[in-house]
């Protein structure tokens, strides 16, 4: 039987508190993981906006013009450049969520659970989603 006093002296690891987040160093896999969540939540919250875009872009030629002008003239009191930023945040969220999800599926199928592979695939995910976002952002803003 283990000594109970010894058990009580064991280090205790609890969930991190909100106030600790800023100075909590996450490994790349942890960053991919929390961004997977954040990007999913963002897309969930902006889903009505995406469906509205789907609606105006498809309904008629006139509404299609409304769709394109959203990113030039803006939407309501929101200027066009801001709508482009919103679109870019959705593009990033989609790309990151897609690639982080593909990483998950790959790990499930290939059983690649080593620390090194996880580290490498996490960095690849961050780099490729960032690079693709830059490409789409360039196309969105400058062409």
């Amino acid at each position: 039987m283990a000594d109970t006093t010894q058990q009580q002296q064991r280090p205790v690891y609890r969930n991190i508190h909100v106030t600790q987040i800023a100075r909590y160093r996450l490994p790349p896999a942890g960053i991919v993981s929390i961004l997977h969540r954040a990007s999913g939540a963002l897309m969930f919250l902006l889903l009505p906006f995406v469906i509205w875009l789907f609606d105006v872009s498809l309904t008629s030629e006139i509404s299609y013009a409304r769709f394109t002008s959203t990113f030039v003239a803006g939407l309501g009191w929101l200027p066009g450049w801001f709508m482009k930023l919103v679109a870019l945040s959705l593009i990033w969220a989609y790309l990151h969520h897609f690639l982080a999800g593909a990483r998950h599926l790959w790990m499930d199928v290939a059983h690649t659970v080593s620390k090194e592979e996880g580290h490498l695939s996490a960095i690849s995910t961050l780099v490729s989603s960032g690079a693709l976002t830059l490409v789409f952002g360039f196309k969105l803003f400058f062409s």
Binding site: A41, F44, P48, I51, E61, Y64, F98, L105
Partner: protein
């Protein structure tokens, strides 16, 4: 009660939805990923995009079929993901249930809207 909580007498409880949802999240993700590739290929191949070409893509019956499946997949996928977030971060039961009900209402509403847009075309 306590004498039944170990060994072969252990009381197995819960709704057993863990594996099912884990699997569903992956299957729906795969469907959406395939749809993304199918849509992306159509957008990349072909002339400059305008209303006519964009509407033509979604007018095809097979594309409506696929899009409808993806809309339903998205509903289920987002529900599992958002429920996980609420379960992890929100402790008070009342608030958690309220947020889950909001999530369901939000998603069902969005699904109806998207389906209407699709079949009006």
């Amino acid at each position: 009660m306590t004498d039944k909580s170990f060994g072969s007498r252990r009381l197995v409880v819960g709704a057993h939805y863990g594996l099912r949802d884990w699997m569903a999240q992956r299957v729906t993700a795969l469907l959406m990923a395939l749809f993304t590739v199918a849509l992306g290929a159509q957008l990349l191949l072909g002339p400059k995009l305008g209303y006519d070409r964009w509407a033509a893509i979604f007018s095809a019956q097979w594309m409506k079929f696929l899009t409808f499946i993806v809309i339903v997949a998205l509903l289920y996928h987002a529900w599992i993901g958002m429920r996980d977030i609420w379960m992890d971060y929100v402790k008070p039961v009342g608030v958690k249930i309220a947020l889950q009900v909001f999530t369901l209402a939000w998603l069902v509403g969005c699904t109806g809207w998207a389906v209407q847009v699709l079949w009006r075309l």
